[in-house]
């Protein structure tokens, strides 16, 4: 089968292409025509693009729209197919936090307390985790000591473990320490993170090592190098980890669910679930509560997405 006729291919190549009219004469009329055609085509394609993107965005937004509109409905209209309330009940948002309301359809839960608990726990975990991770990342990326890479590899390999494997024994440890149903038990285990260490190490590795040498020649101690030079330069990484950790803990469900027993210690996700299981029929109040817990996240995201996007794209390198 060696003598395949090469004819058709060559012919095809020598044929004047219909896409690029190299051979045709370029008169001013054809130039104007192609330019106008290009303009119209780009216009319609941009328009189509916008419409497609808008259609998809609409799908993303509609559930949230329903959420907000339902949260403003009077109690009697909750099951109406109409999305709009007949009158906007802004006081629903106050009723969510009013757990002593005599009217059962207006009775909420101790929502302000849940909010405060969530912020308190998330803030502490974030502060501690960013601190310990930054120190460890500095050690792993800017200091040379024997065995460093072996220990780092050990850290990395634990990131592969499903968190569930450790949850059960960790809970037994919490029982023995007497930390069940305390904020300490929520905060301390969350203060150490292999992921945070990894993420900050990646950021610190991007800082050129000549800076360290210059600092060393100037007689700066390792602490000064860490505090005055590396930390300020790693600020985007620190901000990214701060947002990740804070949001993760604000949303955290499993560990608080297991650890918290008394109602006044509930964090927001546990509180929302408690609301659903005890006053689930008051959909309007539930949606008001859900709105109040979602809106801060959306606002935070809109303003800080620059850091998040970078962190996600960098974190994906972990393999």
């Amino acid at each position: 089968m060696s003598n395949i006729d090469p004819g058709p291919r060559l012919e095809q190549a020598t044929q004047p292409s219909s896409v690029l009219p190299y051979g045709s004469e370029l008169t001013s009329a054809t130039v104007a025509e192609t330019r106008r055609g290009k303009f119209v085509r780009s216009l319609t394609s941009t328009g189509m693009l916008h419409l497609l993107l808008t259609g998809m965005s609409l799908l993303m937004v509609l559930p949230f729209t329903w959420m907000v509109l339902t949260s403003l409905k009077p109690a009697g209209e909750v099951n109406d197919p109409d999305w709009f309330p007949s009158s906007f009940q802004w006081r629903n948002y106050l009723d969510v936090g009013d757990k002593d309301n005599p009217d059962p359809q207006r009775r909420g839960v101790d929502f302000g307390r849940f909010y405060w608990n969530s912020l308190f726990v998330a803030a502490w975990v974030t502060f501690l985790q960013v601190t310990t991770s930054a120190m460890a990342a500095f050690s792993f990326s800017r200091l040379q000591w024997p065995g460093r890479d072996k220990i780092f590899l050990m850290y990395l390999s634990t990131m592969m473990l499903p968190g569930l494997v450790m949850m059960i024994p960790n809970f037994q440890i919490m029982i023995n320490l007497g930390w069940v149903n305390t904020f300490t038990g929520l905060i301390i285990p969350g203060a150490f993170s292999a992921f945070g260490t990894f993420l900050l190490r990646q950021f610190m590795l991007t800082i050129p090592s000549s800076i360290d040498e210059a600092a060393e020649i100037d007689g700066a101690s390792k602490f000064r190098l860490f505090w005055d030079i590396i930390l300020p330069l790693a600020r985007p990484g620190l901000i990214t980890l701060t947002i990740f950790t804070f949001m993760g803990n604000y949303n955290s469900f499993f560990w608080p669910l297991v650890m918290l027993r008394s109602e006044h210690k509930y964090t927001l996700p546990i509180g929302l679930m408690f609301f659903d299981s005890t006053r689930g029929q008051s959909t309007h109040l539930l949606m008001a509560a859900v709105t109040m817990s979602v809106i801060p996240m959306i606002i935070l995201f809109v303003f800080l997405q620059k850091y998040l996007v970078r962190g996600i794209q960098l974190g994906a390198v972990k393999g």
Binding site: H50, M60, V61, S133, A136, S139, I168, R310, G319
Partner: protein
């Protein structure tokens, strides 16, 4: 180490360390030398370095030991004991822990529920190809330059005109009152104006919000959206079903039922094309024997399951009309038979073909490519096989009882999982996968597109022969991470929305571990399940290590 994702290929197990080599080339050899050879000051410096290194590490490593390393050892021990909260944590019955060996694992394998929950977990992962495709689609749309200068005013004008026209159409159509139409038109207008003014950032933000806010709050929201009969989703779907019912009633049943034959034909054709493509990969030397066999086996999964699909209660719901009739049985026999024929045909052709690469090639070459291709075809075949019986039964459903009604969603045995998958799809389009694809798309060399344009490639060809191969490393990474996450997933949804029900339909392995460990209190057994889960994750990770690098370098 650069921030550029193109140089640090995702899925590359070495990448965390690759950045170091150029950074510390001088100091590293010190440690490999004999300690005796080092001068006194150097040894002192080394000790100092060690002290500093450990000093900075100390807070983190203490916590790491206390809450990761020690629990790991305990968990390992637990899995081989009969630790039960009722027996061993009860101060009145302080019974000694008993070492039971592999008993927990044996009991697990013999447990029918375990296989059901594993099946649920895998079923949920079937939504992955759809959400990845959605993310890719969104990323491609977002990667287009939308800041078109003077075009922007035009775009706004055209968009506005379309908007007004569509609003008028909706109002004229009377889509359940003008309020709803106004709402949708208003939202569309707001998004459009925001999008034309702010460019892609606005759309990207809107796409990403469902993923970012995912948690108990949005799960509760969807639980309410899925309320049967009165919920907004049921209210939106019911008119569609009613109009389908009208069409089905008006047309002869045989015409509708022919959809079944068409679906089966399409399914067989897909398998035929898929196997043919695999064979060509093999003959061209792009993929090894093991890759072909594994991928072909994956393609056979839907066919092997076909009997189970028809045994599914969904199609035997109506004993009076006997909707699981003979020809459905024939359908499965037909599909199985034709697949067998297709398989034999391709094997014979592959054996007869005269190809020089076959002997030289490693059997594991290109496994990633083959499996990803086969998985895509498999999903399509699943859809076809699933749609077939729907067509077959439509006339029966439409004419008996109340006609076509929306299911009870989360409370329906058959619809609970698809409902959760719909919610997952909503959250997954604009997820991290979309951001990764966006980053990867900006790294596709522009010359490739120019070359494709010169060759006169259509838009479709541009995608298949330039974009898709260039994105392959990202896709591989996204799929592997998705599988790892999917195996461990489903806990929050199950706990918040369904309690794992109805009839265990939405219980995943993660929720099973939680139930055993924290509700029933069988810690030993629960640990055994967790370690089994770990084993599965580990296999996927090994696969990633072994083939991820090769695949990326292809």
């Amino acid at each position: 180490m650069t921030l550029d994702t193109s140089t640090n290929q995702p899925g590359d197990a070495q990448s965390p360390f690759s950045g170091q080599k150029p950074e510390f080339p001088v100091t590293r050899p010190d440690y490999t030398q004999d300690a005796q050879a080092l001068s006194k000051s150097a040894r002192k410096r080394q000790r100092k370095n060690l002290a500093y290194g450990l000093g900075f590490l100390a807070p983190n490593i203490l916590g790491f030991l206390a809450f990761t390393a020690i629990p790991l050892v305990i968990a390992m021990y637990m899995a081989f004991t009969n630790w039960d909260v009722g027996m061993h944590n009860n101060p009145e019955r302080r019974e000694p822990l008993r070492f039971v060996g592999l008993e927990n694992f044996i009991r697990l394998i013999q447990m029918p529920q375990f296989w059901q929950y594993l099946g649920n977990t895998l079923f949920f992962m079937m939504g992955m190809p759809f959400s990845i495709a959605g993310s890719l689609f969104a990323a491609i749309l977002l990667s287009k330059d939308l800041k078109g200068g003077s075009n922007r005013t035009w775009t706004i004008l055209i968009a506005g005109a379309v908007l007004v026209a569509s609003t008028l159409m909706l109002v004229a159509w009377g889509a359940s009152g003008t309020a709803m139409a106004m709402l949708i038109a208003g939202l569309t207008g707001m998004i459009l104006i925001g999008g034309t003014a702010g460019g892609t950032t606005v759309y990207r933000t809107l796409f990403y919000v469902p993923h970012f806010t995912a948690g108990v709050a949005t799960y509760l929201l969807w639980k309410k959206l899925f309320v049967p009969d009165t919920g907004p989703i049921a209210a939106a779907v019911q008119p569609v079903l009613t109009s389908i019912e009208g069409v089905v009633r008006a047309s002869p049943p045989a015409a509708v039922q022919s959809g079944f034959v068409i679906c089966m034909l399409l399914g067989a054709a897909l398998i035929f094309l898929g196997l043919g493509r695999l064979r060509r990969y093999w003959e061209d030397g792009e993929i090894g024997a093991a890759g072909v066999l594994l991928s072909a086996a994956l393609l056979m999964v839907p066919v092997a399951l076909v009997g189970r699909w028809y045994g599914f209660d969904l199609y035997a719901e109506d004993p009076a009309t006997g909707s699981r009739s003979m020809d459905l049985g024939w359908g499965s026999i037909w599909l199985l038979g034709s697949t067998a024929l297709i398989l034999v045909y391709h094997i014979l052709r592959a054996l007869r073909a005269d190809h020089e690469f076959v002997e030289k090639r490693q059997p594991w070459l290109g496994v990633g490519t083959g499996l990803m291709f086969a998985a895509t075809v498999m999903v399509a075949v699943f859809v076809m096989i699933g749609l077939g019986p729907v067509f077959h039964n439509l006339p029966t459903w439409a004419t008996t009882g109340d006609g076509l009604k929306t299911p009870a969603w989360l409370a329906d045995v058959h619809w609970a999982k698809p409902s959760l998958m719909i919610m997952g799809f909503w959250g997954a389009i604009g997820s991290n996968n979309m951001l990764l694809y966006l980053a990867a798309l900006t790294n596709v060399p522009q010359e490739l597109y120019e070359a494709a344009d010169i060759d006169g490639a259509s838009r479709f060809q541009r995608f298949w022969s330039v974009t898709w191969p260039q994105l392959a490393p990202t896709t591989f990474f996204v799929v592997v991470m998705g599988v790892i996450g999917g195996l461990q997933g489903g806990f929050e949804m199950a706990r918040v929305m369904t309690q794992g029900g109805p009839a265990g339909q939405t219980t995943t392995l993660a929720y099973f571990i939680y139930k055993e460990g924290f509700e029933t209190g069988r810690l030993g057994f629960s640990s055994a399940v967790a370690w089994t889960l770990f084993l599965m994750v580990f296999v996927v990770t090994l696969f990633n290590w072994k083939f991820g690098n090769k695949y990326v370098n292809d």
